[in-house]
Every structure is written in structure tokens, then in C-alpha cells.
Symmetry: C2
Subunit: 422 residues, 2 copies
């Protein structure tokens, strides 16, 4: 895409009222727009990152047998009353509204209830199990304070997956498989080395003692975890005791207390919610049993925020290739016709080969183009100038490295396409 | 995909409380789930249709220079007060809620205001114009009655595009180009022959006398239009007068009064909203001018409803290939190992060639499989049985035709891949 055709404006300063590092950077780089506290629109570059993250998740979850669907935002009061999650004293982040008839409705902050209720039409017999359904949906949460940018927004995109199993054993098998899948997802978006399975509280509505979070170690992380780097596992401080650590196979003496950001969580609901909502199935022997439910979340925009903060440096963003909005930032330097033509040709060539190139075709100072390439965090920068053409091609530089090499067009195409899936 | 891995259940009867033809059919065929009046979830097959429609629109709009982004659902009261569209007496379809601080917020039913407000950060000079941005977004509209299924739901997906132009002339050029693009979009989703550009009222908030709708002629259409089939243009009954027809180049004597369903609309806002919201730019001579605004909507789920009703017959749905969730419904008939193996091989072959196949691998009666293939409206049905194998291959039948032909695997692959883009 040509920069002149991209809807974007980069800025030197973030808005004065923005406190979070992720939103400050993403606003400056033109990825998001702040509409209100905790309410951010996704600009074209931000939407591309979100779609890339969704693709990583979608591929993994489809492979595991997930069926993608899309539930609704509007929620029926009666349904959530059944599970005692309607009252603001029980769940304090509801946005609620009213139909013209005066009837109260909620705006979804989660979807266990409506999906489980719907399942009563789809699950009647053991033959209908297991079932795995998921969605990417905009959730609304009425957070009292919203100061963490897109990491805890009032409106955000979430991947939520729900598993419906015949037995606790079948459930556990899928639950453990999802742990592996989550680690693969976080690995693919670049956080593999710093993201750890973490024991956490079961939550008041799950009927289980424990849940599992995935925590990415970050300086500014809002959570504290006790981490065993060798086992690659951790316990959230909220539930940590030496006894629990020992009982869970840890050596408390080797555990490290670090700050981390949650990027995903998985819950076992057991029979709890199925019993509340009347989701039963007929076993082979004709008996009626409640379905075993699990739920598996990844905050997609939150994950984008964690990736932002994890990789950013003093020059700006630095996206891993798997989620970067473009792979290459191509800049022409100088007004010579020969340079323009060479850069234009290179753009066409790379685009034809399937490389996602953002071509800065503006009449702007070289320093401005380079600063934008760094601020936007595009993995590779390619510069065409009279000097580079004289030296035999263009300058290639990785966003995260300092060395610049001169490559001819074929070498460039080769190195960029061979690392397509890096 | 294998039917056994698809999350679906087809039904003989639609829910008793569902009055609309589109939702009745889509629920029976397993494409959507009714959560409440006017509130429908998209099941996997329904989501595929929506994504296919979005792809048709996205490709056309990107070609026209559109930049995709994603605005938020939460809306600031002050912003809509500026344009006098906050008060329920002025706009009677708002869903409203409150932040924990007590501050009122709205849920978006349209996005002219927040996008135009945002544009003040992006448009300062004539050099920043024109700008074309669009999104696919879930809109919430508090309809008093919701009896038209997904054609007028309380929650629905919309494509909304906004154009920001330097002059009225530049605006008109894009506005006319969008008319062509809209006709191409409706043509690609199968409604080309019955969809017509229709003059309609400008709307109280646009500042223009007229807008343009795209109306699809359908028996049960909720609108009445005066149509000139030769000119392929129409006038909405709401504004029709013989004088207007004559002044607009029609011959009133040749116009036909027909029922139709609106599938898209485009509006000129002129300077109206820009002046209200303070969106000005510096001209070359330094003068400050308001930006000329246009807005262009297509209700994506509504369009799915119109396509449903337009093509359905007594057996069920019948999707045009461009939007069908799968291209082929493959069914094996009979329990013979040879039949199973042949059907499985065919499934692998076609899938490898990029044909979207739904393989009904269930132990079900042939009649049940055929009825489901018809009900779901998959464009091609392929049946493998002992009889078909004896005759040299499999049976191929179009959903909309009655003749069945025997083809060998190569012929089948060829005819299905050659018509990939039909």
C-alpha cells in the first residue's frame, strides 16, 4: 500500500489525558484513536494488527475443532438472573439499557450464559458431545477506572471459546490441550519466551477452586506472580501460599516474584452453570446428565497492548512479523526521477510476490520517513536513494537491529520472501 | 469440512414466535439462532455467509480507495448533542446506558458523528483530502417492533463508509462512483437483475433534499417504489409525484409500482455536519472551509436476509455461489466400505483443489441428507453411491436445477473449479 493512500497521521505527542504506555504509543503511531477514557477506535493499521492476531488464534482454534460463530451484544435479564450474575452487586461492570417497552437489557461483558442457554437447542444426547464453539466479539465492561489503555478498556475485542463435554475426563483432556494451544498462540505472536501458565483463583461463579491464566512477564505488569522459570509455570500472588506451591509440585525456594500482564485465561465450570441453566443430555443408558463446561478467553486488543509494551523501545513500536500491519516500510530518498522509478518498481515487485509493503511515496524529509518507519514498528525498512542505487541496490535494515546492508532487488526479494513466515 | 465436525442442527419447524420468512428459513437451516425478538446470533454457516458478503463489499470499497477501520459502540452524549441527535424525541432508536460515574453514554446506531469528530485530528489542509474510511460494525437500534427477522433487527452488522471531500464537485464525483460500485456489489451477491437505484428523501439530518437507496424488487418488500425498468431507476413512493418524476427525466406513464426491499443507501451531508462539528480545512489560499461529507451504508445482515427471501423456494435456501457458505454438499449414500472410501477421496481431492466442500459423513438416511443439502441451499450437490460408482463416478446436481448427471472425479473437479468464480 502507498503511504499516500493510507489513512494515517503520526504524532510527536500523545494526548495529554492518556496515561498508559500502550495507548500513548499506538496513538502516536496512528494505530488507534481515543474517543473517551477506555474507549478506543481501531485505525487501519491497528485493525490490521488485530486481524493478524485473530488469524493466529483462529487457525489454532479451528485445528482443535473449534467452530466460529458470533453471539449478540444485547442480553436478556432473565437469563443472567438464573445464574445470579445480573445484579450490579454481584457483577459490577454491567452496562444496562432498556427496550422501548421498558424491559431491561444488558450489554454483554461475557457470553457463558447465552451460549450455554443456546446449547439447550443443540445438545440433547451424548452423540452431540463434545462441542467447541468460539467467537471474536466486542465486549463492553463498565470499568470504574480505565487507565490502562487498550489493556483494560471499557470496550474491547475478545476471543472466547466454550467447551461442552460429556464427562469430566473428556473436559480435562480438552482443557489440557487448550493450555498447549494457548502457549503456541502466544509463541506465534512473539511472547513465547516470557509467557507462562499460571495458577489462579477459580472465580466466584465457576464452581472450581482454580483457573489458569497465561501471564506475560513485563516490567509494568499489573499482576504479581511467583514464577518457576525452569518449569515454565507460575502461581498468581492472589492465591500464593508456600503450602499451595509445594502441593502443586513447586519448590517455593526457587520461585521468583515478578510483575506480569495477563494475556489469557481458562476456566472449568464443571456442571455448575449447566445445572443452573438446565443444559442436560441423555447418556447411553438413558440417564440425564449435566454437560461439563469450560471457557477460554483471550483479550485480543489487550494482547495487542501487551505486545506493544513488550517490544517497544525509545523509537516507538516494534511488531513481531506475525502481527505486523506491514512487513516492509519502503522509503525513497531524494527527488531524482531514477530513484522514484526504482522505488516504484521495487514496490510493484515485492507486492506481486505477496510481501506486504507500505511504500512511503510522500515528498518528505528522509529523517521524517525513517522516524515514521521506526515509530510504526514495521519489521524491515528498505531505502532507495541515489547513493544506494550507485552501491548496487537498496538499503535493508531490520527494525530491531542497527546494521544496514546493501542488497540488489533479487537478494532483497529473496530475503524478504524466505522470511515470510519468520 | 465434515458435517460431523460442523456445529449445526437443522430443524423441521421454525420457532413459533418467529414471523419473518428470512429468519424462519435461516433458523431451520441452522444459520442463525434467535436469542430474543430482533436479536439473532450468527451460527457458523451464517457467519460464513456474512464474511462472504463482507469480502465482496471490502474488495470493491478498497479498490475505490476506502480505508477500513473500526469505530466504537460506546458514544459520548455531548457529541450527539452538538448535532441535535441525542434527544430521544429526535432519534427514537437509541439504546442508552450510564458509566459508573453516572454519566450517560449511547450505543452506536450510526457513526457519522464520531468519525467526523475524529477527522478533526486528521484533516487540517486541502492536502489531507479526500479521505474515504469505512467499517463493518455492529449497530444497535432500539426498534419499537422487530418482526422482520434479520432484515430489521435490534442488533445488526452494517458496512458504513464516509467520504470527506474538498469541494462539492469532488464529492459528487465520488458519490456517483459509489452508485456504480453499489450496483456491482449487489450484482456480485446475485441481486443485480432486481436491484435499482432509487431516489429517496434526504432525511431530516442531512441538509440535502434527496438521498439514494438501492431497492431490490421482492414480493414481500416493505417499501413501494415507482420503477422504470428500461432506465433501471426508480423513485420511492414516499417522495413520488408526477412532477418530480418528470423533472428527474422519467416518463410517469411508463413507471411500474412494485414492492421492494432496501439493501443500501447513500447520503450527501454537504457542509451541514462538518459545520456543526467544526471540521474545517485550510484551502490553498489560506481560507478555512468546511469539509463536504457523504455517507454510504449497506446493512450486511439485512442484505443476507434479502438474498435469503429472494432465492428461497419450497425446499429451503438457495445461495448464489459468491456468498454460499460452501460450494458443494457431498453426500455418501450406503454403508459400503467402497462408497465411504470413494466419498472420502473425493472430499480430499476437491478440498485440495480449493473447493469449499461440506461432506455429510453421517450415518443418516439418503432422504435426510438430500433434504438438508436443499434446505441449506448449497449450490451443488454431489452424491456418491454404489449405483453412481457403477455408472462411472458421482451424481452432480445444481441446487436450482432438476437434472442429475454422472461425472467421473476429473470431470467433477474440472466443472467445480472452472465455475469457482461463477
Amino acid at each position: 500500500m502507498k503511504r499516500s493512500e493510507l489513512f494515517i497521521k503520526t504524532r510527536r505527542e500523545a494526548p495529554a489525558d492518556e496515561e498508559s504506555k500502550n495507548a500513548q504509543l499506538l496513538i502516536r503511531a496512528g494505530f488507534i484513536h481515543k474517543d473517551a477514557a477506555g474507549v478506543y477506535a481501531l485505525l487501519p493499521l491497528g485493525l490490521k494488527v488485530v486481524e493478524n492476531i485473530k488469524k493466529v488464534i483462529r487457525d489454532e482454534v479451528n485445528n482443535a475443532g473449534g467452530n466460529e460463530l458470533l453471539m449478540t451484544s444485547l442480553q436478556r435479564k432473565e437469563l443472567w438472573q438464573h445464574t445470579d450474575r445480573w445484579d450490579d452487586k454481584k457483577v459490577d461492570i454491567w452496562f444496562k439499557s432498556r427496550l422501548q417497552s421498558g424491559q431491561e437489557v444488558g450489554l454483554a461483558w461475557s457470553h457463558e450464559e447465552p451460549i450455554t442457554d443456546m446449547m439447550r437447542e443443540f445438545i440433547a444426547s451424548y452423540r452431540d458431545l463434545p462441542a467447541y464453539v468460539y467467537q471474536f466479539q466486542t465486549k463492553l465492561r463498565n470499568e470504574l477506572r480505565a487507565k490502562s489503555g487498550i489493556m483494560r478498556a471499557r470496550e474491547f475485542i475478545m476471543k472466547d471459546l466454550y467447551s461442552y463435554s460429556r464427562t469430566e475426563e473428556e473436559h480435562q483432556k480438552f482443557y489440557e490441550a487448550m493450555k498447549e494451544i494457548y502457549l503456541r498462540i502466544f509463541d506465534q505472536v512473539g511472547l513465547g519466551d516470557s509467557t507462562f501458565e499460571t495458577m489462579a483463583a477459580g472465580g466466584p461463579f465457576t464452581g472450581s477452586s482454580f483457573s489458569h491464566e497465561f501471564q506475560t512477564v513485563t516490567e509494568n505488569g499489573e499482576d504479581t506472580i511467583y514464577l518457576d522459570r525452569d518449569r515454565k509455570k507460575a502461581i498468581n500472588e492472589e492465591i500464593y501460599t508456600e503450602e499451595l506451591a509445594k502441593n502443586s509440585g513447586f519448590d517455593p525456594g526457587r520461585m521468583e516474584k515478578v510483575q506480569a500482564s495477563e494475556v489469557g485465561n481458562i476456566f472449568s465450570f464443571g456442571n455448575h452453570k449447566s445445572e443452573q441453566l438446565g443444559l442436560f443430555f441423555s447418556e447411553e443408558d438413558g440417564s440425564q446428565k449435566p454437560v461439563v463446561l469450560g471457557s477460554y478467553g483471550i483479550g485480543v486488543t489487550r494482547l495487542m497492548g501487551v505486545i506493544t509494551e513488550h517490544f517497544a523501545d525509545e523509537k516507538g513500536l516494534a511488531w513481531p512479523q506475525s502481527v505486523a500491519p506491514f512487513k516492509v516500510y519502503l522509503a525513497s530518498v531524494g527527488e531524482e526521477e531514477q530513484v522514484r522509478r526504482a522505488a516504484g518498481n521495487l514496490y510493484d515487485q515485492l507486492t506481486d510476490k505477496g510481501v506486504a509493503v507500505l511504500y512511503d511515496d510522500r515528498d518528505a524529509r528522509p529523517g521524517e520517513k525513517f522516524a515514521d518507519a521506526d515509530l510504526m514498528g514495521i519489521p524491515y525498512r528498505v531505502v532507495v536513494s541515489a547513493k544506494s542505487l550507485e552501491a548496487g541496490g537498496s538499503e535493508l535494515k531490520k527494525r530491531t537491529a542497527t546494521d544496514i546492508i546493501i542488497v540488489d532487488d533479487n537478494q532483497l526479494a529473496e530475503s524478504l520472501t524466505s522470511s515470510l513466515h519468520e
